[in-house]
C-alpha cells in the first residue's frame, strides 16, 4: 500500500484505466464477504450491488467521466434507513423491517454512484462498545478473532479492516465510530455535530450523534467526509454553515501546531497505549509543534452527563417500537393494546436496550428531572464552553482513542459500567460537539492496533485531516487483513 494514495483513488484510477471492471471488483468483494467468518454483515445486497456495478461499467465503456466515489464498493452500518433494503439496527425488534425511504447519507452516496455491498452488523440499536449486544451475534476482530471489534459500529470497522468494503459509514453517539476504528486499526471520524445529515439514521441519542466515514487511510476519510458534509433541509440540526473542503488542503503546512494533552484522559490507559499515543504526539515536534500537558477535569464529567442525557433521549427514541406500525409484533395472547405493546417490547428488546430505557425514563421522571436531566444539560454547556476556551490555547488535543486495545468477548461480564468506560476518552467530543478523528498509531505486544484520537474545535475537520495526514505519511499502520487486497 502506497503511503500517498488512498484506497478510493486507487480504485478510481484502476476503474478509469480499465484495469478492472466495476463488476469484477464488486464480485471480488461479494465473494470475500461470503467467505468471511467475521459476521460483519447482517444483509448483503448482492443483486443491487451487481446492478449498480454494471451501470458504472457502462458509463466507463461509453467513455463518460465518473466521479471519485463512483463504482467504489462500500457498506453501511445497519441503522441507516435504506429503502427496500432490510434495516435491522442489530435488533430482533427490526429483524424484518424494510424502510420505505432512504437516509440522506445513503441518498448522497447512491447519487455519487457508490456500490452498496450490504448492511453492517452493529450493537443492538447502537447500544454497546463491543458489538456483543447485536441480535445477530458478535463480530470478530480481523486482527484477532478471539477479540471484539469494538462498537457499536463493529461490523463496519471490521469490514474495512478486512477488505470486505473499500469504506464504510458508521455512526457515533459516544464513540461508536472511533473506538471500533481504533480496535480494528483503521481511520474513523466523528464530525462536528450538525456537519452530516442525521435524516434516516435510526437514532440513539439525537443531540449527540453524527454519521462519519470509516476508511483505511486519512485521505479516503477526507474524500468521503467532503462528499457527505452538507446542509440537509430535512434535518434541522444540520448546520447551514459552509463546510470547508478538506481534501485539497490535506498536505498543507501544520507548522507551529499547538498540541494540548489532557493528562486525565491518559489515566487508566494501558501502558502500551499510553506510550504509543505519547510517542505519536511527539512526532509533531519536528514540525515545530509545541506540546503542553494539562489537567482538564471537565472531561471527567462527560461520561456521567452522557449517561443522563443519552439515556433520556434513548428512552423516548425507543418508544416508537411498540409493535403497532412496524417491526416485531407479539404473536401470542394479549388483553389490550397496552398489553400488546408491553409484551412486544419485552420480547423484542435486548437487555442493554431495556437497561437504558429504564434509566432514561428514570432521569426524566418528575422527582429526578431537575436534579439529573436539567443539571446534566447545564454541565454539558459548561463542558462545551470550557472546551471552546481550550481551543483558544491549542489547535488540537491528543488522547488515546481507547484506554485499551481490543478486548476479548464477555470482557465486561455483567458490569455495564465497565463496558461503558471503554468510551471514556471518546465521549468528550460528543458532549462538546467537536470533531474527533481516530487514526492507528501502532500495535501492542499482542499485535492489536492502537488508536490515537485527535480533537479540534468545531468546523475544523480540515485541520484534523491535515494533522493526521502528516502523521500517516510517515507512520502508516493500517493494513487490510484478508479480503480484497488492492495492490494495483
Amino acid at each position: 500500500m502506497s503511503k500517498n494514495k488512498g484506497l478510493i483513488r486507487k480504485i478510481h484510477d484502476a476503474l478509469v484505466a480499465k484495469k478492472v471492471s466495476c463488476l469484477e471488483l464488486t464480485s471480488w468483494y461479494l465473494r470475500e464477504i461470503e467467505k468471511s467468518d467475521l459476521n460483519a454483515f447482517i444483509t448483503v445486497t448482492k443483486e443491487q450491488a451487481l446492478e449498480s456495478a454494471k451501470k458504472v461499467d457502462e458509463k466507463i465503456n461509453k467513455g463518460e467521466k465518473i466521479g471519485l466515489l463512483e463504482g467504489v464498493p462500500m457498506s453501511l452500518k445497519d441503522n441507516f434507513s435504506t429503502k427496500g433494503i432490510l434495516t435491522t439496527c442489530g435488533s430482533k425488534m427490526l429483524e424484518n423491517y424494510v424502510p420505505i425511504y432512504n437516509a440522506t447519507v445513503y441518498e448522497i452516496l447512491k447519487n455519487q454512484g457508490c456500490v452498496l455491498l450490504g448492511k453492517n452488523n452493529q450493537d443492538q440499536f447502537a447500544m454497546g462498545s463491543s458489538n456483543e449486544t447485536s441480535y445477530f451475534g458478535p463480530v470478530k476482530n480481523p486482527h484477532d478473532k478471539t477479540k471484539v471489534p469494538g462498537g457499536s459500529s463493529g461490523g463496519a470497522c471490521a469490514s474495512v479492516a478486512s477488505g470486505l468494503a473499500a469504506f464504510a459509514i458508521g455512526h457515533d453517539t459516544g464513540g461508536s465510530i472511533r473506538q471500533p476504528a481504533a480496535f480494528c486499526g483503521i481511520v474513523g471520524l466523528k464530525p462536528t455535530y450538525g456537519a452530516i445529515s442525521r435524516y434516516g439514521i435510526i437514532p440513539l441519542a439525537s443531540s449527540l450523534e453524527q454519521a462519519g466515514p470509516l476508511t483505511l487511510t486519512v485521505e479516503d476519510n477526507s474524500i468521503v467526509y467532503d462528499c457527505l458534509a452538507a446542509h440537509d433541509p430535512k434535518d434541522e440540526t444540520s448546520s447551514k454553515i459552509e463546510r470547508k473542503k478538506t481534501f485539497n488542503s490535506l498536505d498543507d503546512s501544520i507548522e507551529g501546531l499547538k498540541i494540548g494533552i489532557p493528562t486525565n484522559c491518559f489515566e487508566g490507559s494501558d501502558k502500551e497505549v499510553y506510550d504509543a499515543v505519547e510517542k505519536a504526539a511527539k512526532f509533531y515536534e519536528k514540525f515545530g509543534a509545541k506540546i503542553t500537558y494539562f489537567a482538564f477535569p471537565e472531561f471527567d464529567l462527560s461520561m456521567p452527563v452522557y449517561c443522563v442525557l443519552g439515556r433520556a433521549e434513548t428512552a423516548s427514541n425507543m418508544a416508537c417500537f411498540d409493535g403497532i406500525r412496524y417491526g416485531y409484533k407479539y404473536k401470542g395472547e394479549y388483553s389490550d393494546v397496552n398489553d400488546l405493546m408491553a409484551k412486544t417490547r419485552s420480547k423484542a428488546l435486548g437487555d442493554e436496550v431495556k437497561r437504558r430505557i429504564i434509566l432514561g425514563s428514570y432521569v426524566l421522571n418528575t422527582g429526578y428531572h431537575d436534579a439529573l436531566y436539567k443539571k446534566s444539560l447545564g454541565v454539558k454547556k459548561l463542558i462545551t464552553d470550557k472546551v471552546a476556551e481550550k481551543f483558544e490555547e491549542f489547535d488540537i488535543l491528543i488522547t488515546p482513542t481507547s484506554p485499551t486495545t481490543a478486548f476479548g468477548f464477555n470482557y465486561a461480564g455483567d458490569d455495564p459500567v465497565k463496558m461503558q468506560l471503554a468510551d471514556i476518552c471518546v465521549v468528550n467530543a460528543n458532549i462538546a460537539e467537536i470533531p474527533a478523528l481516530s487514526i492507528p498509531c501502532g500495535y501492542d505486544s499482542n499485535n492489536l492496533p492502537i488508536g490515537m484520537q485527535i480533537m479540534s474545535k468545531c468546523w475544523s475537520e480540515d485541520l484534523l485531516f491535515r494533522v493526521a495526514y502528516k502523521y500517516e505519511k510517515e507512520n502508516f499502520f493500517a493494513k487490510i487483513i484478508g479480503g480484497v487486497q488492492f495492490e494495483i
Binding site: N79, F80, S81, C89, L94, Y97, P99, I100, Y101, A103, R198, Y199, G200, I201, I202, P203, A205, S206, S207, P233, K234, D235, E236, T237, A312, E313, A315, S316, A319, C320, F321, D322, I324, R325, Y326, V337, N338, M341, S361, L364, N365, T366, H369, Y373, L377
Partner: protein, 476 residues
C-alpha cells in the same frame, strides 16, 4: 350552601396551514385512511421533524388576536406517552417556554377571561373501531394544533359558551382555522370544580376530555356542577379525575384517575432548534391582522345597522367581509345588511353554508341593487325577486337587474297617477281631511294598472303633489 362554578378550558384548534407541522404532507380532511401520510408523520424510525414556519406565524396571529404576549424565544419539547395513534410515542409540543404568554378574551359583559398561554403542537392519528378489528388512521398525525389554555375564570355555562364562540370567531377572523366543532377542528378539554360562594379555595378539579359541541359542553357543565354539589352536600369527597361526557345518557362518566402532568417526561426536542423571533416580525404580523369582529360590529352600528343585525353579520367572517365590500359607496348599508341576514340567509339555511357564504352574487352587484332601491329606480318586491333569481343561479344579478329595467313596460307614471287620483274623489277627500292611509286605495290602483312595476313610494309622492296642486288651483 350556594356553590359557584369554576371552569377553565384547554382548547385545541387545528391550524389550516397548507402543510403539516413537521412534514410536507397536505393538511386536508376526508382522504382515504393512511393515504395522506409520509414516513415522517407515521414516525418511521430515523425520520426527523422540520418545523413548518407558516404554523408558527398562524399561532402568533392567534396569540396577538387574543391579546397575548409573544415570546421571542420558545422551545419545542417531547411529551412522552404510549398510545397507538401517537406515531413516535411522543408528541412534539411545548411546555416550559410556549410561543404565546398571557392574554385574554373579553366577553360582551366586559369580563375578561385570562389566557394562561398558547402553545404549538402536533395532532395525533385516529383510532377506528371496525367490525373486523381496531385500526389506526395517521392522516391527521402531524396536523398543526394550537392549544389555548385559559385560567379558571369562567363562572357560568353562558360564559363558557361565549368564551368558546369568541375563540372560534377569533380563529376565523385571523384566518388560521375554520374552527368547526363538528369536524373536530376545535376541541375542548374542560376543567371544572365548584366552591362555596364565599370561599377563595378552589375545589377538586375534574377534567372532561374531548368535548366537540357547544351544546354538549353546556350539558356536561350543568350535569357536572350538579353532581359535584350533590357529592359535597351529602358529605362526600371528590377525587381529581378525568371524565367523559356520555352523549346518549347526557351525563359524565369517570375515565381514569388524572396522572400528574409531569409524568409525561417532558424534555426539549433535540431534533429542533429553539424558535427565535424578531420583534419586528411580530410587529409586522400585528400590523397586518384583519379587523376583529368586535370593532367591525361597532363600525356597523355607527353606519346605522341595528345592533342585533350587526351581531349576526359579524358572526360569520365571510359574511362580514362580503358586507364590507358591498357597502363601499352604498346609499343604504342597513338595507344591504337586511337583505343579507334576511333573504340571503334564508336561501342558505345551514350554519356551515352561512360560514362558507359561497353565493352566486357579488358584493358589487348587491350594492348596485340597493342603490337602485334607494334611488327609487327599483321597488323592493322586484329587487327581492331579482336577488332570488340571482341566488338560484339564474344569472348574474347586475345583468338580471339591467334586463329587468330595460324590459319594464314604459308608462307615464304621472298620467296614470293623475287618472287614478281623479277616479277616487272620496279617497282624495279623506286624505285632505287628514287620513293619510286613504292614499293606499289610489296607490293600489296605480300598482294594478302598472302590474306592480311602479315604485309605490314614488307613486305616493306624485299622488300627493297632484292633490296639493289641485287644492291650490281650487283655492285660487
Amino acid at each position: 350552601m350556594k356553590y359557584n362554578l369554576v371552569c377553565g378550558f384547554e382548547t385545541h384548534i387545528e391550524l389550516s396551514t397548507k402543510e403539516k407541522l413537521f412534514c410536507p404532507c397536505k393538511v386536508k380532511f376526508g382522504s382515504e385512511p393512511n393515504s395522506n401520510c409520509c414516513p415522517i408523520c407515521i414516525g418511521a424510525p430515523g425520520t426527523l421533524p422540520a418545523l413548518n414556519r407558516e404554523a408558527v406565524i398562524y399561532a402568533i396571529k392567534m396569540g396577538l388576536a387574543l391579546n397575548c404576549k409573544i415570546n421571542l424565544f420558545s422551545k419545542m419539547e417531547r411529551k412522552c406517552y404510549f398510545y397507538p395513534d401517537l406515531a413516535k410515542a411522543y408528541q412534539i409540543s411545548q411546555n416550559d417556554l410556549p410561543l404565546c404568554g398571557p392574554g385574554f378574551v373579553e366577553l360582551d359583559s366586559g369580563k375578561k377571561i385570562r389566557i394562561h398561554h398558547i402553545h404549538i403542537e402536533e395532532d395525533a392519528g385516529k383510532i377506528k373501531n371496525e367490525s373486523d378489528g381496531i385500526y389506526v388512521d395517521y392522516n391527521r398525525s402531524g396536523v398543526p394544533l394550537i392549544e389555548i389554555v385559559s385560567e379558571p375564570d369562567i363562572s357560568s355555562i353562558e360564559e363558557a359558551q361565549e368564551y368558546i364562540e369568541k375563540l372560534q370567531l377569533t380563529a376565523r377572523y385571523v384566518r388560521v382555522s375554520d374552527a368547526r366543532m363538528q369536524e373536530g377542528s376545535i376541541r375542548c378539554d374542560v376543567n371544572i370544580s365548584v366552591k362555596p360562594e364565599n370561599s377563595d379555595k378552589l375545589g377538586t378539579r375534574i377534567e372532561i376530555k374531548n368535548m366537540n359541541s357547544i351544546s354538549f359542553i353546556a350539558k356536561a357543565l350543568k350535569y357536572e356542577y350538579e353532581r359535584q354539589v350533590d357529592v359535597l352536600e351529602s358529605g362526600g369527597q371528590l377525587i381529581q379525575e378525568t371524565r367523559r361526557f356520555n352523549e346518549q345518557k347526557n351525563c359524565t362518566e369517570g375515565m381514569r384517575e388524572k396522572e400528574d402532568a409531569s409524568d409525561y417526561g417532558y424534555f426539549p426536542e433535540p431534533n429542533l432548534p429553539s424558535i427565535c423571533l424578531e420583534q419586528e416580525k411580530v410587529d409586522e404580523i400585528k400590523k397586518n391582522l384583519p379587523e376583529m369582529y368586535y370593532s367591525r360590529k361597532k363600525r356597523y352600528i355607527s353606519l346605522g345597522v341595528p345592533e342585533k343585525t350587526a351581531s349576526l353579520l359579524v358572526k360569520y367572517v365571510n359574511v362580514s367581509d362580503f358586507f364590507d365590500s358591498a357597502i363601499k359607496n352604498c346609499k343604504s348599508p342597513e338595507r344591504v345588511a337586511n337583505l343579507i341576514i334576511g333573504q340571503i340567509f334564508s336561501f342558505l339555511g345551514s350554519e356551515t353554508e352561512k360560514e362558507e357564504f359561497k353565493i352566486s352574487v357579488s358584493p358589487q352587484d348587491l350594492n348596485y341593487l340597493v342603490n337602485l332601491i334607494a334611488d327609487n329606480k327599483l321597488n323592493m318586491a322586484s329587487a327581492k325577486n331579482l336577488l332570488s333569481s340571482a341566488l338560484e343561479g339564474k344569472g348574474n344579478l347586475k345583468d338580471l337587474i339591467d334586463k329587468f329595467i330595460s324590459e319594464s313596460p314604459k308608462f307615464d307614471l304621472k298620467a296614470i297617477c293623475s287618472d287614478c287620483t281623479e277616479a277616487c274623489p272620496e279617497a282624495v277627500q279623506d286624505y285632505l281631511n287628514g287620513k293619510e292611509k286613504a292614499l293606499q286605495a289610489i296607490i293600489g290602483k296605480v300598482m294594478a294598472k302598472t302590474r306592480g312595476s311602479a315604485n309605490a313610494a314614488e307613486a305616493k309622492n306624485i299622488i300627493i303633489s297632484i292633490i296639493n296642486e289641485k287644492k291650490d288651483v281650487e283655492k285660487n
